[in-house]
């Protein structure tokens, strides 16, 4: 099921915006985003680039490496 995702890393975490809410971890099919204690951890090797995490992040704290995702950013 792994697809080529071009740019690596697929995403960066904006630590100023991330509130450790775990919404992204809840929807990440390959468990590439995990909450370790209070810290969001991204395991790049597991990421398949499905972008479910961007859709659900309440604060736009996940930044796709290739271009923009959000139409408006707070």
């Amino acid at each position: 099921m792994t697809q080529s995702i071009g740019a690596r890393p697929f995403l960066r975490i904006d630590r100023e915006k991330c509130l450790s809410c775990a919404a992204c971890a809840a929807v990440c099919p390959p468990e590439a985003l995990l909450l370790a204690g209070l810290d969001l951890v991204f395991e790049e090797e597991a990421c398949t680039g499905c972008a479910e995490c961007f859709r659900v992040c309440p604060t736009a704290a996940l930044l796709p490496a290739s271009g923009r995702f959000y139409r408006e950013v707070a």
Binding site: L19, S20, C21, A26, P29, E31, L34, P58, E72
Partner: protein, 414 residues
């Protein structure tokens, strides 16, 4: 971070429990409490350094009496009692209903800590900053948990594991219970905890509309004094790549542009169907991990208490009988589906209408209908209230009637 199959070094006797509960939220702590009360040796493991912190909740829930069905209530857990609800339509039409004592605003951090303390008082071993990183399995049955604590991995054996590890649950996935979410099965939520000059009137306020919170709603919940929880949840499939934070900023400008924001918190809430399977051999899920939140409101506390209680009691009995198989634990699954699971599926049907099918114009008609219906009912006219009810769209009536007929209004709100 995956399940270990048999053959791995099992516990040396030091870390052997009857039950391990992963996650010290309301579902986990109540499950641990029920298991410990039944005399079982229980470990309650929480990955956060501090139980209940940071809060990921708008803090409105059922009544003190409803909470007391599961645990003695400490006064410090209750921030405020709720006296009514106000619903604001997309165009700003207000429908308000007095409902004295319908529920409470919790101090969620104190509540979560208090529940874990209750479990500890019943001799549960509670560990914080203790992260589950995998399950131990033997012959396909869950037999323990691998933990990471202070950078060191260790294993604990148990005859049953309860996964109460929240929306981000991995326990369920490791056990093969397909408990992951799709992004359109969650409300993407954000909330400002703030101080406002607006008077606290003990009324929960809900705002609807595609420009306020697409596929969800915004809330303003008073906590007493000048403190408020003001937030919203959106359906990511409706928000069209605009993050919830943008909608919150707009809503805050409308609520009180001069409010002082104390803290911003975020989270995700359930808007999915009930899971088919929440138990397996040696494993049960409870709370958000089992998709048990109310999919109409996103509220999860009362359901988590109910699920933790039921899962804990069923697991305790299974342990006492010496067989913690899927079959033995399925009494929990069956009972859940028959009761709250069924009502949750009805709530989802109503949510699908209100949040997905109906546009802002349709919602205005619902508000008009509510006004008419309750005016007619207050006037005592049965015929008039029936006529008013018939002015609602047919699919709304069909979705709402089973809820209104079979369940108390408390369960609709929370």
């Amino acid at each position: 971070m995956h399940a270990t199959e048999e053959g791995n070094s099992m516990a040396n006797g030091e870390h052997v429990y009857d039950a391990i509960v992963v996650g010290a939220g309301p579902a986990g702590s109540i499950a641990a409490l029920r298991l410990a009360e039944a005399g079982h040796r229980v470990l309650l493991a929480e990955k956060r350094p501090r139980i209940g912190h940071p809060v990921r909740c708008a803090e409105a829930t059922g009544t003190r009496g409803e909470i007391a069905r599961f645990v003695p209530v400490n006064d410090s857990w209750i921030a405020l009692s709720i006296e009514g609800a106000r619903f604001v339509s997309p165009r700003g039409t207000v429908f308000e209903k007095a409902a004295p004592g319908i529920g409470v605003m919790l101090d969620r951090e104190r509540f979560d800590r208090g529940l874990a303390e209750e479990a500890a008082r019943a001799e549960t071993e509670v560990r914080t900053a203790c992260q589950a990183v995998g399950l131990l399995k033997r012959n396909g049955s869950v037999r323990g948990v691998r933990f990471r604590e202070n950078g060191r991995d260790w294993e604990a054996e148990a005859r049953v594991v309860i996964g109460a590890d929240g929306i981000e649950s991995l326990v369920g996935r490791w056990a093969g219970l397909e408990s992951g979410w799709r992004s359109d099965e969650l409300f993407s939520c954000i909330e400002a905890r703030l101080r406002s000059r607006r008077a606290c009137d003990r009324t929960l306020e809900f705002h609807f509309g595609s420009s306020v919170a697409p596929g969800g709603y915004a809330w303003a919940f008073p906590r007493g004094g000048n403190e408020w929880n003001v937030g919203l949840g959106v359906d990511p499939s409706r928000a069209e790549r605009v993050p919830a934070s943008v909608f919150l900023n707009r809503f805050l400008a409308r609520f009180d542009p001069e409010a002082e924001i104390v803290e911003t918190i975020a989270g995700a809430a359930c808007r999915s169907r009930s899971l088919e399977r929440i138990v397996g051999d040696g494993i049960a899920l409870a709370g958000d991990a089992a998709h048990q939140g109310n999919p109409l409101t996103g509220g999860g506390i009362m359901n988590a208490l109910e699920a933790g209680d039921l899962a804990g009691r069923v697991a305790a009995e299974a342990l006492a009988r010496g067989e913690v198989t899927r079959e033995a634990l399925s009494r929990y699954e069956d009972e859940w589906k028959r009761t709250v699971g069924t009502s949750n599926d009805r709530f989802l049907a109503l949510a699908d209408l209100l949040f997905r099918k109906y546009g802002d114009k349709d919602l205005e008609k619902i508000w008009e209908g509510m006004e008419k219906f309750f005016r007619a009912r207050a006037g005592g006219g049965k015929v008039a209230s029936l006529a008013a009810a018939l002015s609602f769209p047919g699919d709304f009536v069909r979705a709402a009637i089973p809820i209104l007929a079979g369940f108390s209004h408390r369960r609709i709100l929370f």
